[in-house]
């Protein structure tokens, strides 16, 4: 052993060599108390849709079909992460719906209208499923992740309520939507 390795007392080397050998044999790997990846995945997905440091959505988490991807992965941790991801994505869509300029009126065929209504039903079901999945894991999430997911979910609901009012304000449902939730965050 040399001075450059931290020792300069030759008469102590033997005992210390033994001790240093024990230090060097200590394990360099350890198991976390739980699988940490789902929360990491949620956070990096939040980056993607929440204006984080990375400007692009991660390819593996991109798009509104994140819940479907989770099912294909067939892994519980991905279900948790992707559910939150879907909420972030839908939250972004909701915010966009609130702030986008009004589109000019267009003539639509019955087929187009039915297709659009079916799309509303499909994405609405996905929203509800994703929200239910998020609710099921919310107790295990940190406060920041929980509040971010909640805000995104409410913002989405608010965006939908604005469109419902435009659709029909005369009915009780339309009036309830008009008086419904307010966005906690701005997009």
């Amino acid at each position: 052993m040399t001075d450059s390795e931290g020792w300069d007392e030759p008469d102590e080397r033997t005992l210390d060599d033994v001790r240093i050998g024990r230090l060097e044999r200590l394990p360099g790997e350890a198991d976390p108390s739980r699988d940490l990846w789902p929360e990491i995945a949620t956070r990096i997905a939040g980056d993607a849709w929440g204006g984080g440091a990375r400007s692009e959505a991660p390819a593996g988490l991109r798009g509104p079909d994140a819940v479907g991807r989770a099912a294909r992965f067939g892994r519980g941790r991905w279900v948790q992460a992707a559910a939150a991801v879907a909420i972030f994505a839908l939250g972004g869509i909701g915010g966009w719906a609130v702030t986008r300029p009004s589109a000019p009126p267009e003539e639509a065929s019955i087929d187009q209208a039915l297709a659009l209504a079916a799309e509303v039903q499909r994405t609405g079901s996905e929203y509800v499923a994703a929200l239910a999945a998020f609710v099921s894991v919310v107790d295990s999430l940190s406060g920041d992740v929980r509040s971010q997911g909640r805000d995104a979910a409410i913002a989405t609901l608010y965006g939908a309520s604005r469109e419902l009012v435009a659709l029909d304000q005369a009915t009780p449902v339309g009036r309830a939507a008009a008086e419904g939730p307010r966005p906690p965050i701005r997009f």
């Binding site: 020792w7 210390d16 060097e24 394990p27 350890a30 198991d31 976390p32 984080g52 990375r54 593996g60």
Partner: protein, 185 residues
């Protein structure tokens, strides 16, 4: 130092790294699976707390994800992750105003020993207890040099200190450990 990805991620780990750099979360998960246990071992010994170590490990990989497009591969991925770990822990310590506290309580040491035994069943608890008593900067150098096998030059780069300072801190840490172990018998 060999990175775990080199033997845990198939024939072309650089492809996985490149995919992760371009934003592929599946590739990034592969990097996480290959490296998280190394990062967690350092996190646990730095924080001396199981829950804090979990949080630090998560923070490291979130930061790594954000910084990956700027990672040029000049250092090994494992070294880069350890650098992030040490610096993230430094920020955490500063927030808690516990940086380089000279003494830890026996309760803290007991708690750490319990967490270390659970996370690393094959470890030597008497050594872990002695390491846990070493002040922060000296403990960082000791862990990087003796446990993770870095050279003083590398430690200087990771910690942002002079090579000579790293040597002095290593000497200090070893003397302290010797004393703690003699006291404990």
């Amino acid at each position: 130092m060999e990175t775990a990805i080199e033997h845990a991620d198939g024939p072309d780990p650089s492809l996985t790294l490149e995919r992760a750099r371009r934003g592929d979360a599946d590739a990034f998960e592969a990097l996480y699976r290959a490296h998280h246990r190394q990062v967690h071992a350092l996190s646990l010994r730095l924080t001396r707390d199981g829950r804090a170590a979990d949080e630090l490990t998560q923070e490291v990989f979130v930061r790594a994800w954000r910084a990956l497009p700027r990672f040029r591969g000049e250092s090994r991925l494992g070294t880069w992750l350890h650098t992030i770990t040490v610096r993230a822990n430094l920020e955490r310590s500063r927030r808690r105003k516990r940086r380089d506290r000279r003494e830890v309580s026996e309760e803290d040491v007991d708690g750490y020993a319990h967490a270390a035994k659970r996370a690393m069943p094959e470890t030597e608890i008497d050594l872990e207890r002695a390491i846990a008593r070493v002040p922060d900067r000296a403990r960082e150098v000791l862990l990087l040099h003796d446990v993770h096998g870095y050279k003083h030059r590398e430690i200087g780069e990771i910690l942002g200190i002079a090579e000579g300072t790293a040597k002095a801190q290593l000497f200090r840490a070893r003397v302290l450990i010797r004393g703690f172990m003699e006291i404990d018998g």
